[in-house]
């Protein structure tokens, strides 16, 4: 009896020691996690801070801290004098046209590949998927020359057409996977009701793949909104500059004034951050969907 309690006591001591080790471990882990979060986040917070300061404050020593006075006029000078507003609208036009056109084309192609019956469907799918591996470098000069000859340089189409083409592989990859999971009965009943194939596609199938359309839209949004190489090559006229090219000119224009540049950077990131805050899980899923399945 006595011996047993002793044993029990020892056991408790052992456990509590393990627990406290565990606690210290957890504590250290939390610090490491927070530190890494700080490294990932602080530069962005710092960006917001200096977007609200003027040079005399930054150069006067307040580099890291909160602004003494919140200079919102940095934002108005970036938006209007720095043309960020204009670049922003161009980005909206290009990005949303890209999302709409690539989404539609990818849905149509994926439907034909995944649901319809023809010999080459597998081959065509593989052909599209090869596109996932093409670096855009190789297309840069040939596209530049094609667009030049078609007199399309410096237009919205100069960006929309390439963006759509390069968005297709990933979109088709995700959509075909999704179309394949839909039961055959959905189409069969539509067919019995006398729906044409176009109507079946439009009225029955498209609504069923909405989640996949959301995934590819986010993916396409991010790649079109953030794209740099095509944009700096195909657009040189102020009128058609999107944010990525525009920010480069803004940085040249305000080379020594930090505030307006910071404001421009914040404005061009805002839509992305809003989308991310509203649906962070969906964004994370979109960006990893390709990798996880592949």
């Amino acid at each position: 009896m006595k011996e047993e309690t002793l044993k029990g006591k020892l056991w408790t001591v052992h456990i509590s020691k393990r627990d406290s080790n565990h606690k210290i471990g957890r504590y250290i882990l939390s610090i490491i996690l927070a530190l890494f979060g700080f490294i990932q986040l602080y530069p962005l917070i710092w960006l917001v801070l200096f977007s609200l300061k003027d040079n005399s404050e930054i150069f006067g020593g307040n580099i890291v801290g909160l602004p003494e006075k919140f200079l919102w006029q940095n934002y108005s000078s970036a938006l209007f004098n720095g043309n960020v507003m204009h670049y922003f609208l161009n980005s909206v036009i290009v990005t949303f046209s890209t999302i709409a056109i690539s989404g539609l084309l990818a849905c149509m192609a994926s439907y034909a590949i995944a649901r319809m019956k023809w010999k080459l469907s597998k081959t065509v799918l593989i052909f599209f998927l090869l596109g996932l591996m093409i670096p855009i470098h190789a297309a840069l000069l040939p596209l530049f020359l094609i667009l030049r000859d078609l007199k399309l340089l410096n237009s919205y189409w100069a960006l929309i057409i390439p963006y759509v083409a390069f968005a297709l592989p990933m979109a088709i990859f995700i959509l075909t996977g999704f179309f394949q999971t839909i039961p055959k009965e959905m189409e069969e009943s539509a067919c019995i009701d006398g729906c044409s194939i176009y109507r079946t596609f439009y009225a029955i199938m498209l609504p069923l793949v909405k989640p996949a359309i959301a995934t590819i839209s986010i993916f396409t949004y991010l790649s079109a909104w953030n794209e740099l190489m095509f944009a700096i090559t195909f657009i040189s006229k102020q009128q058609f500059k999107t944010l990525t090219v525009g920010i480069m000119s803004l940085a040249g224009q305000y080379i020594t004034e930090w505030g307006p540049i910071g404001a421009g950077l914040v404005v061009s990131t805002l839509p992305t951050i809003i989308i991310y805050v509203l649906m962070s899980d969906q964004v994370q899923k979109s960006l990893t969907a390709g990798a996880v399945k592949g």
Partner: protein
Amino acid sequence: MDRVLRDKKAICVFILPALILFTVIAVLPIFFSGYYGMLEWDGIGQGTFVGFKNYINLFADNDVFIKAIKNSFILAGLSVFIQLPIALLFALILAYGAKGENFYRTVYFIPVIISTVVIGQLWMKIYNPSYGLLNTFLRSVGFESAARVWLGTAETSLMSAFVPIVWQYVGYHMLLMYAAAKSIPGEIYEAARIDGASHMKTSLSITIPLMQPIIKVCVTFAVIGSLKSFDLIYILTNGGPVHSSEVPGTLMFNTIFHKFMYGNGSAMAVFIIVECLVLTVIIQRLFKVEQITY
């Protein structure tokens, strides 16, 4: 039903728009680039056909291109041996259910979705010799002598340009690995836990081996991404000073659009594609993953 799904006309209507656009804009240009690479051409008039001269010249009398390739491999090495281990470590910590799992996962991912132009301009401010975050920090902790012109000095420009790249994408790899670690069924750990194995031990002997497929994907992405890197280097240093931070992407871009050597530049573009394909195959071979079934 079958008849409707075999409708040749409908198949064409669905598939052709995407197929034609993708072929003309994304695939054919590769062959054009291959052909341009055999020309001596400044973009005006007709080029002269010179066979494989440009391709040979890339290596024969072009120290800069070899240096650029070397630099891109340094970046690949940094990504694989520094970025990926950090990503793996944090993925495992979060996957084991650390406090704030979702919060940190969301925070770590933020830099991934922000445009490279914004990240680039932001890091230029961080590296600013007089007022940047980095030098200010070094001075404030007493390392006055460590402060320097990070991007403008040949010795430091390469590493300084690479740090933001590693910083931006670490969250992406972390998320991929996290998702993979989470998808390993709990029962597998139970036996290990009953045997009293620590987290460290279960990670090394169970989790990481089971994560091999995703690690392969991450290594592929990290290496390919490094070989075709362009955006951040272009913004931060544009390959300079004196080519110290040159990568194939920036060199190709400047050869084509600033030196107007279309032939040479195209040869570089083709080399980048071939290099990416070859390395993808090599990495696949290196990871001879057996199919793992749970």
